[in-house]
């Protein structure tokens, strides 16, 4: 009886998606709800919680360090988008070119950095961008007669290190996404364009870019997410969550500082909710603009 019920075509789909429903409710809806609730409370681990209305949010609005964290995350996101979408796309097109030698080797070596853990990569970059004369980047600058730079103590130079790290790790991954997208563009389009006498540049702007749009949207979406939620990169680069003058502090870093380091769970929850809103607003706007919803069935 039960078997028959479970095996019916009406019930089967629910059985298939059941794990998702369970995980969704248990690990997303419930925590999200409790996070939302916590953001209206003064709550510390091991102590009584009390409801305090919008106080956490009010405090957040006047919190200079939080503002700094939001700015850092936003700037980081914009910079990574500006680098990690056009360049990987260009590289993908070039590497896909019939004139390319050693394609597989390059593909693999571009992807290679993504295989390192952030812990390892962050440490490597921290050492590379060390302020000593002998550190890698400074020694290279030295060849050009530029004195040692304290990379990780300045806002701009710190971000150079941070964005370099992201570029190094993600160029190859994004390139593979675009390569996959390129594979889905039929060769006939290009052949037809060649017959019409289109230049390679025209082919790129008229055929490649428009047809890569779904891939671009996908990469954009995950990059926005990754940019705004960045934390460990900064933590590893500055060997802790306390960068000088908070130049490397991100929103999630602030959430971690308040929630884990200072045991201000309510305040940290409010930080999380604000982050959620920012992410949602940016991503939904982006998706609306790119017409994603219209095509979704």
């Amino acid at each position: 009886m039960i078997k028959k019920f479970l095996y019916s075509q009406k019930v089967a789909p629910y059985v298939f998606v059941l794990p998702f429903i369970a995980v969704f409710i248990f690990f997303w809806v419930y925590p999200l709800g409790s996070s939302f609730g916590m953001s209206f409370q003064k709550i510390q681990l091991g102590q009584e919680a009390s409801w305090i209305g919008f106080s956490n949010y009010e405090k957040l609005m006047g919190d200079g360090v939080f503002l700094k964290a939001v700015t850092n995350s936003a700037v980081y996101m914009v910079l990574t988008l500006a680098i990690l979408i056009p360049f990987p796309m260009l590289f993908a097109v070039l590497i896909n070119n019939k004139f390319m030698w050693g394609r597989d080797f390059f593909k693999a070596s571009f992807f290679f950095p993504a295989l390192t853990s952030v812990v390892v990569a962050g440490t490597i970059f921290r050492l590379m961008f060390g302020e000593m004369e002998g550190s890698l980047i400074n020694s290279v600058l030295g060849w050009f007669g530029i004195g040692p730079v304290k990379f990780l103590k300045g806002q701009v130079t710190g971000f150079v290190a941070l964005v370099s790290l992201a570029t190094w790790r993600w160029t190859g991954v994004n390139m593979l996404y675009f390569l996959a997208g390129l594979k889905n563009i039929p060769d006939e389009y290009y052949e037809a364009a060649s017959i019409d006498g289109a230049s390679p540049f025209q082919k790129f702007t008229r055929i490649t870019m428009p047809l890569l749009k779904p891939t671009t949207i996908y990469v954009l979406t995950i990059s926005i997410y990754a940019g705004l939620a960045m934390f460990i990169e900064s933590m590893m680069l500055w060997n802790g969550n306390n960068s000088p003058k908070n130049i490397g502090l991100t929103i999630v870093g602030y959430l971690y500082r308040q929630g884990i380091e200072k045991n201000n769970l309510g305040y940290a929850a409010a930080v999380g909710i604000v982050l959620l809103m920012i992410t949602m607003i940016i991503n939904l706007t982006q998706l609306a603009f790119s017409g994603m919803f219209k095509k979704e069935d």
């Binding site: 070039l94 853990s117 050492l127």
Partner: protein, 277 residues
């Protein structure tokens, strides 16, 4: 024809240059792993290739020294394998449910999948932490695997892939008298092989390198994974740079093997599952 050759050369030089830039940090780490850890602190990570200070001591220490590197290594390996296998199986099942059937609430549920792809997992850290604590999963691997077992990105990817699979296959299965689950297990799963390769690599990467959540959940040093373990070496009071650098170098190897082994499927799988407008 000579124009083609020159394009080839320009392209090759361009990519060789980029490639060199990308590989420099690896080169630096590789060199550093042959030098005493002290030098690293003192002179910074650099490119100087000085045979007089280079030796195999760090590698000898890695394999014979009294440290927990291989405990971390095997913990990571175990966790990665378990996590990848479970995540792929569960996510594929869910994705099949979404792609093969029309059912009430399907659109709503699928929107949920899309939404959680956009919710930064990090904001759930604190409530998940208390939840994990309340259900008694603290300090266990289950707490790491379970929240990600129906991975939204993976479900999304598999569903995209399944859209390319003809519905006739399912219909044919029904005609042959297979049950709904039989169709999935015997007809669909085998077809999904290439996409499994791609997702195995992406999930494997994530799992092998996962840091923040395991770091918060695990408190027993005997259960540490490689990234957590390596991070414990980053203290000024330990003189651990010998192990850190050679260990970092060594940690890349398994995932590299995985990648090289599956590279062909990886690109194919990604292509097949690529987002189509």
């Amino acid at each position: 024809m000579s124009r083609d050759i020159s394009i080839k050369i320009v392209l090759f030089v361009l990519f060789a240059g980029l490639c060199a830039l990308i590989l420099i940090p690896f080169y630096a780490v590789a060199i550093a792993s042959f030098k005493p850890g002290e030098d690293l602190i003192r002179y910074g990570l650099n490119l100087s290739f000085d045979l007089s200070v280079m030796n195999l001591d760090n590698f000898v220490y890695l394999f014979t020294g009294n440290h927990a590197y291989f405990t971390w290594f095997f913990n990571s390996l175990l966790l990665t394998i378990v996590q990848v296998v479970l995540t792929l199986l569960v996510s594929a099942t869910v994705a099949y449910g979404f792609s093969a059937y029309e059912f009430k609430g399907k659109n709503f549920l699928f929107i949920c999948v899309l939404l959680i792809m956009m919710v930064p997992f990090e904001i759930l850290l604190l409530p998940l932490y208390t939840l994990t604590h309340n259900i008694g999963l603290m300090n266990s691997y289950s707490a790491i695997v379970l929240p990600g077992i129906a991975s939204a990105a993976t479900i999304f990817f598999f569903r995209q892939y399944l859209r390319g699979v003809p519905k006739e296959m399912i219909a044919a299965g029904r005609v042959d008298g297979a049950s709904e689950y039989g169709i999935y297990l015997r007809i669909i799963l085998p077809v999904m092989k290439p996409s499994f390769a791609a997702m195995a690599i992406l999930n494997g990467m994530n799992s092998w390198n996962n840091f923040l959540w395991p770091f918060m959940v695990l408190s027993d040093a005997g259960k540490y994974t490689l990234p957590i373990g390596l991070k414990t070496l980053l203290t000024p009071y330990g003189n651990n740079y010998d192990l850190l650098i050679v260990g970092s170098f060594f940690s890349i190897i398994p995932i590299f093997i995985l990648f090289v082994a599956f590279q062909k499927y990886f690109i194919d799988g990604m292509t097949a599952g690529a987002v189509k407008g």
